[in-house]
């Protein structure tokens, strides 16, 4: 007797006897109710009388059954002009970020950037849909207390204050869509065997934001940023923790080069995941191209 048969028989021995209470029909022996048409039992079948319910053609949002719809009635709405071309920053609240830290999804001992947020798998980004990174929102700013070196793409004043009050540092940085695509799935990017791209400078309408020390832009003068840190601390009335005296000073002051997209990995390098080697270009032409 095979092992499986023996096992099945053992189960059968432990089971109750077959009786009317525990048998059922053979699968497929009982046909379900049929929806008859016309004289063969045809009626409404629970779909109601006429309209969307019966025809299952639920109307699209804003459709007014033939009227000129409200959302199309006015020929133009300049407020929304070019909305399909604007950069989008999908939100991530400070509460969610704190929860990611609490559940050990993000390592606080390393600088946190878009890659580490995306690597949690709980925040998704689609660069092909004009999405350019994280907008850290102020929900949960009151409870936020993690000392981190954070890099996001968009942050409000309250968010900046909350991060700096907790002893951390925050930078806002721009990534072009091609760099973002490499960051979305790093494993897949390295497997492609192409050099790490150099990060492009922000487009003209974003330059102002990313060079502003008040927004903690990555292209701003560091001297002015530290001045703005003090200004914000005085505005919101908290004591600015001194990062110079901090034990994690090296981690808190680690920054990327404006042309760099991964910490410690320079543009132009090719990473081979299988052989665990890194190829670094030596040609003058390439070094010049990838130089910061």
């Amino acid at each position: 007797m095979s092992k499986n048969t023996e096992k099945a028989l053992n189960i059968l021995r432990a089971l109750p006897r077959v009786c009317l209470a525990n048998i059922r029909d053979n699968p497929g022996s009982r046909l379900g109710p049929k929806r008859g048409r016309a004289q063969h039992g045809g009626d409404k079948h629970g779909a109601g009388n006429k309209g969307s319910g019966q025809r299952q053609n639920y109307m699209r949002l804003g459709y007014e059954t033939g009227n000129n719809p409200f959302y199309l009635r006015f020929p133009q709405e300049n407020y929304y002009k070019g909305h399909h071309l604007k950069r989008q920053y999908p939100p991530l609240s400070m509460l969610e970020l704190q929860k990611l830290i609490d559940t050990n999804r993000i390592d606080v001992s390393k600088p946190i950037d878009l890659v580490s947020i995306l690597n949690t798998g709980l925040y998704r980004l689609f660069p092909d849909q004009h999405q350019f990174g994280v907008n850290l929102t102020d929900e949960g700013a009151d409870i936020f207390c993690a000392k981190i070196n954070l890099e996001v793409q968009w942050a409000s004043e309250i968010v900046i204050a909350a991060v700096e009050k907790a002893g951390g540092v925050i930078t806002t940085a721009y990534y072009d869509p091609y760099s973002l695509q490499a960051m979305v799935n790093t494993t897949k990017f390295f497997q492609r065997g192409v050099p790490i791209p150099r990060r492009m400078i922000p487009p003209p309408d974003a330059i102002e934001y990313y060079t502003d020390p008040a927004k903690r832009g990555y292209l701003a003068d560091p001297e002015k940023v530290s001045e703005e840190r003090l200004v914000l601390a005085q505005k919101y009335g908290y004591n600015l923790p001194k990062i110079e005296n901090d034990s994690e000073y090296d981690m808190l002051t680690e920054r990327k080069d404006p042309r760099q997209i991964f910490y410690g990995l320079h543009p132009g390098w090719v990473v081979n995941l299988r052989d665990k080697i890194i190829l670094k270009p030596k040609d003058e032409e390439l070094l010049e191209y990838y130089a910061s």
């Binding site: 639920y58 509460l95 704190q98 929860k99 830290i101 609490d102 559940t103 050990n104 999804r105 390393k110 890659v115 995306l118 690597n119 798998g121 709980l122 949960g140 409870i143 936020f144 207390c145 993690a146 790093t186 494993t187 390295f190 991964f262 910490y263 410690g264 990995l265 090719v270 990473v271 995941l273 665990k276 080697i277 890194i278 190829l279 670094k280 270009p281 030596k282 040609d283 390439l286």
Partner: protein
């Protein structure tokens, strides 16, 4: 159509075999640009390194293969709590999800009209849990609470949106 596309496919790499004089070239198409092998020998000198410090930066950007286990801390500011319950002396048990969250969800049905709360992964005395949930939720609602218990699959479905209430109720008990 098929022949035309074949001709173009051949023509962009080498002078057309079929029509050598009229090899079509479309500058607007990416197919018109030459292949790397057609450019002759392109030799780029590369330095191959097995540096461990460089590799540590690669490992930093690679995602973890499994969901990390939470570290024990004194306080969790976000309100999330790890499961602290001892199963031995409890009548029922609710297994956390792989993301270490309580498996309680809001189900929206009937084209956005019907809202039900679904609590999954219940083991043990599900009827005891149903009784306790009813005792906890009934004072908060006006109607009689409608609860469906599926003992075989191990879920409880409650009419209405009570997700946060259920999560609070279970967190207080340490589940």
């Amino acid at each position: 159509m098929f022949i035309a596309s074949r001709c173009r496919a051949i023509s962009h790499r080498a002078p057309s075999l079929i029509f050598p004089k009229f090899g079509q070239k479309r500058d607007s198409s990416f197919q018109s640009s030459p292949y790397v092998e057609d450019l002759g020998s392109v030799n780029r000198s590369y330095e191959v390194t097995k540096d461990t410090t460089d590799w540590s930066y690669v490992q930093r950007v690679l995602p973890p293969k499994v969901v990390p286990t939470p570290v024990k801390k004194d306080v969790y500011p976000s309100g999330w709590r790890p499961q602290t319950i001892d199963i031995a002396d409890k009548p029922y048990f609710i297994k956390r999800t792989k993301n270490h969250m309580i498996p309680c969800y809001l189900d929206i049905g009937q084209r956005g009209i019907k809202r039900t709360t679904l609590l999954k992964s219940i083991q043990g005395d599900i009827w005891q849990l149903e009784k306790e949930i009813k005792e906890f939720l009934q004072p908060q609602v006006f109607q009689i609470l409608r609860v469906q218990v599926n003992e075989f699959v191990g879920y409880i479905r409650i009419n209405g949106d009570h997700v946060n209430a259920i999560k609070y109720f279970l967190e207080q008990k340490g589940y």
